[in-house]
Amino acid sequence: MMWRKFKYLMSGYANYKLMLAWLILGTPIFALIVMVQPLVLKYVFDIIDHGSGELPQSLRFLQDFVASYGLSPTTGAAVILVMFAAAILVIYLVLQNSRAWMNVRLEWFYRQRAFNASTEMGPDFFNHFRTGDLVTRMTDDVAEKLSWFACSGIFRFYEALCLVVFGLILMFGLNVKLTLYSVLPMPVLVIIFIKTATLLDKRFERLQGKISDLNSSMESCFSGIRVITAYNRRNLWSKKFAGIIGDRRSAEISVARAWAGIESLYMYLWQFGFVIVLIIGGAMVIKNSVSIGELIAFTNYVVWLIFPMFDIGQFLVKGRQSAVSIGRLMEIEDFPPMVRNGNHKPMNIKFGAIRFDNVSFAYDQKGRKVLDSVNFAVTKGQTVALVGKVGSGKSTIIHLLTRVADPSEGMVYLDNVPLKELPLDSYRDIIGFVPQEPILFSDTIEGNIRFGDKSIADDRVNQVVKLSQLDSQMERFPQGLKTMIGTRGLTISGGEKQRVAIARALVRNPQILILDDCTSALDARTEERLWDALHEVMPEMTCFVVTHRTKTLRLADKILLFDEGKVIDRGTHDELMTRSVAYQELYSRSELQEAVGAA
């Protein structure tokens, strides 16, 4: 499992091998340069103090370099310091910016990866995971937790290790005894950090819980304001709010205490280390076993080793959190994607006839049959109306026709080829579907109609705009078809949405048009005109219409009457009116609805 998670994490670097190599190789070199710096301080303070000092062998060339410009030793030392400062500036600019850049790129990568996986998932996936949960995974888990860790978390840890190792080596090189005393608190710091991080985490989680409580309490209050107002309970809720907000305050303070306490503890321990260096080192200077310069270098090392301890601790804590986040992201991909059986090579499907052969459907093995041994055949160009009560099986037929599901028993044939065996994408390319609730996206109206297909001619787009009765609404749209709709754009009415959805289905010239009770939000006149227009073009396609509109029923080539999953009768309107009591009742209800003006 861990290995899989590691692979997931590393997948982000697949296209950035160069960056990875750069970070791996560069970091130790930079760490070394940083850790050599205190030695320059030693050098300069030795000169200031007693007139002479020495740089380590490998850096002597710097001494010679500044001497060649005729600078005095101290001036030269200051110049060397500046050179180091400049070098470290460049190093960290490059190193930290590389990490920052990589962090953000990784965030992009992981989020895109999780989302792309979800686009191939079927309805069972979306029943299993709530949208809000998926969004949290793709934002919070990706950004707050994973992507920072995947680069900065790991490489700061690596940098920290290098700093510590090089630092210790150099410190030992100066004075073994003093080094040992200086680094005493270090491991303790790391342990404390890890232990207290857990405490902090717990308190933080508790705080999150209280904030969540506060939000849901307010949410239920504001949503139920009518009840609260009608029953004069506002004072009560004011008091309740005071209680909840008081709880939240306590949780916040408890987090603040933990955080401040940890920081103080940390700082104190570090100061403790500093103090030890001062005493023991100072005593050693007095005894002349260590120079002032060396003491000052040691105090600098102690300072420089603190942050790496922090980064090491962070790595372990954040690493755990990131592993959890990776697990949550992998859950998305591990879910079985939608069924795509059949060969995958795209093909041009020219459709002639559809046949349902003894088709049954149930949601699971022992479930009730939503469709029971349905048989019917439809030839090209026919308009088929599906009628029946709610839950009689019409929507399931739609699911099967759009291949959102496959039959549990029996088979659907397209020109004698089982639908299952046709390439899914090629089949969907020939159907146009308008759902009951129109789903549109944040885009221009034209963008929603085209739905990403730039190859459709503008003429065609304009044609379907007229067909779907959208042109009468054009004055409502300031930029015409280029008006933005959706969350950041214009809010359009339900009826307008339905018309856009119809245009969207029609624009690609589908061979099979599937309409699921899609004109409910339109007023009577617009609905009339829309269907008149549709009826003109429908003969060019094979249409399946779930409807109860009397005119549509009268014009349909074939009506399938559903009841409890079975087709209990079929025929034209006239045929059914003469022989089917069930159809008569249904039809007269539809007439009533139209008379009463009910939706």
Binding site: L236, Q271, F441
Partner: protein, 600 residues
């Protein structure tokens, strides 16, 4: 998840200066606490400034003087000072945090109380999410002023001034060397904030876009797949990702660049101090310890600079949060309470709608118009019509959720606007279509946490509406917690609970908006029985969806497009063979045959 990654900048009508001034009164009650805290902060800061001075002494006096005991003393004092500093600083931080919490808590309470006092029309126009972010998110951004800005203003200023003062006292020449670099830092800070501030805001917007894009495509994935448009969805997110990435990269790089340059200047300053300092030491106007002290101070400038560079962002966010909060608090959209309300002790005679019209938005579109009718005490009046005809509006008016645009509503001859809303509403029991259950247990949801309800009254009400049977079967009976939105109860059970809620205070008039959803016949039977008990002998106005309701109604009002088009008893209306007759056949029949039940 944070509900408000981004809040549209609305026109609030409050300037930043006004918002800032509005914040000061919030602090007044706490001014002594704040003062004490700031004094403590100053004292702690002063302590921390002493550290490097002791360091100087340790080097110059003790070490140079080969005085091991002296060194020990100095170091012990140093350690002690550090300890005191840490304790004081911890104490101060916690208490500043508590102070900030107290101030903001009061503000949030004010916001909440104000919001729930506003009229229903306000709630109809403002999505819950926006209200939540006003109280929570904007409140929090104000709190940051305490944890960050105050510390910076007082603590950091004292720190920097203090350090410079000590440095100046010890060696004014070296101090000038240090100060020479200050302008660079300030310029850097200025450009950094100017560059990053607008981009931070932009990042939040782009993150909101990402969330919106992910949400809408996940919710619409079935359509995306049926149209074979997965690639499109992926590209859309990719684009949103890319835009955030660009902004992120810009700010991250600005961030690391700024801080590294600050570091660089820090080291340059140190190098300069060493350069000049070395000469001064040689000329005996400075000592090694002095140089170490200066270097230590210089290294201490980093944190205050870090904090200062964030401040513009913190303050900006706080001010814009404050502007929105004050705009909210100045909202007076409330149902007006009469200044001299008439007491309505008890419902005696009738409720009259007199030529009532209501336009919700005031744009000339009327939800109802020319509505006149009378409900006499003891009568059962039913409202029928298709969805959206205007029936709920009548209930809204009776409860004074809205006031009529035209005409008046009279109870016992008194205009409802002249009665105190609390007085008026206490006479009604309300059952809505959307059965609203609150977090809490069964008892709380029935009594709405009213303390005046005895256990006996609670149980007898539950018995009356036939809810007691299922409540008694629940694990903790009346103490059983109702899960969010009533998830652990069936539709029928929720309906019975809402009946109990309406009845537990024995209202004189019952307002009922019947649920349209179908339940199984058994539950339906229980609901009908409960309803019958509720309505017996009680005045009621019912938006009817049940046949049983309208059959014995004393008066049925047929509402179409906001007007009463027919009225009468059930048989009278059927005889008219008009709109009602068609509606009746459509809505109240099943399978084309009239089912006239005798409901036991």
């Amino acid at each position: 998840m944070d509900q408000s990654y981004f809040e549209q900048e609305q026109e609030t009508g409050f300037t930043s200066m006004q918002a800032f001034k509005g914040l000061l009164p919030l602090l007044r009650p706490h001014r002594w606490r704040l003062l004490r805290n700031l004094l403590l902060l100053a004292a702690a800061t002063a302590l921390s400034i002493m550290g490097p001075v002791l360091l100087k002494r340790a080097i110059d006096v003790n070490i140079k003087g080969k005085d091991t005991n002296g060194l020990l003393t100095t170091v012990v004092i140093y350690a002690a000072l550090q300890l005191i500093f840490l304790v004081a600083s911890y104490w101060q931080r916690i208490h500043l945090e508590i102070l900030g919490q107290d101030v903001i808590m009061k503000l949030k309470q004010r916001c909440f109380d104000h919001i729930i006092g506003l009229s229903v029309s306000f709630f109809d126009r403002n999505p819950v999410g926006r209200l939540l972010s006003r109280v929570e998110s904007d409140g929090e951004s104000l709190r940051m002023l305490f944890t960050s800005t105050v510390v910076m203003l007082v603590g950091d200023v004292i720190l920097i001034v203090g350090m410079l003062s000590v440095m100046f006292y010890v060696n004014w020449r070296l101090t000038l060397v240090v100060l020479a670099f200050a302008p660079f830092i300030i310029v850097l800070m200025y450009f950094y904030q100017r560059f990053t501030n607008p981009r931070f805001l932009e990042i939040r917007k782009r993150m909101a876009d990402i969330i919106a894009t992910i949400t809408e495509y996940l919710q619409g994935m079935s359509i995306v797949q049926i149209f074979n448009r997965q690639k499109l969805a992926q590209e859309r997110l990719n684009e949103a990702n890319r835009k955030k990435y660009e902004m992120d990269v810009a700010t991250s790089i600005a961030n690391t660049t700024f801080f590294n340059f600050v570091f660089f200047f820090e080291r340059l300053t140190i190098a300069a101090v060493i350069l000049f300092g070395a000469q001064y030491v040689a000329g005996s106007t400075a000592t090694t310890g002095m140089l170490v002290m200066f270097i230590t101070y210089i290294q201490r400038f980093f944190e205050p600079i870090h904090r200062a560079s964030e401040q513009l962002y913190v303050v900006q966010r706080a001010i814009s949060g404050a502007r929105r909060i004050f705009a909210l608090l100045s909202n007076r959209e409330m149902i007006s309470e009469s200044t001299q309300p008439v007491k309505w002790h008890s419902f005696e005679k009738s409720i009259v709608f007199d030529n009532v019209g209501l336009s919700y938005v005031g744009d000339g579109n009327f939800a109802i118009r020319d509505v006149s009718f009378e409900i006499r005490k003891g009568q059962k009046v039913a409202l029928v019509g298709v969805t959206g005809g205007g029936k709920s509006t009548l209930i809204n008016l009776l409860l004074r959720f809205y006031d009529p645009t035209e005409g008046r509503v009279l109870v016992d001859g008194i205009d409802t606007r002249d009665i105190a809303t609390e007085d008026l509403r206490s006479k009604f029991g309300l059952v809505l279509q959307d059965i609203f259950l609150f977090p809490g247990n069964v008892k709380d949801n029935i009594t709405l946490e009213h303390e005046g309800v005895s256990e006996e009254a609670l149980r007898s009400t539950a018995r009356l509406v036939a809810a007691d049977r299922f409540i008694e079967k629940m694990p903790k009976k009346y103490e059983t917690v109702v899960s969010e939105r009533g998830g652990n109860l069936s539709r029928g059970e929720r309906q019975l609970l809402s009946f109990a809620r309406a009845m537990v205070f024995n209202p004189q008039v019952l307002l009922l908006d019947e649920a349209t959803s179908s339940v199984d016949p058994h539950t339906e039977k229980r609901i009908q029985v409960a309803l019958k008990r509720l309505l017996t002998g009680r005045t009621s106005l019912i938006i009817a969806h049940r046949l049983s309701t309208i059959l014995d109604a004393d008066l049925i009002l047929v509402i179409r497009e906001g007007r009463i088009i027919e009225r009468g008893t059930h048989s009278e209306l059927l005889a008219q063979q008009g709109y009602f007759e068609k509606l009746f056949r459509l809505q109240f029949q099943e399978h084309g045959k009239a089912k006239v039940h005798d409901v036991a």
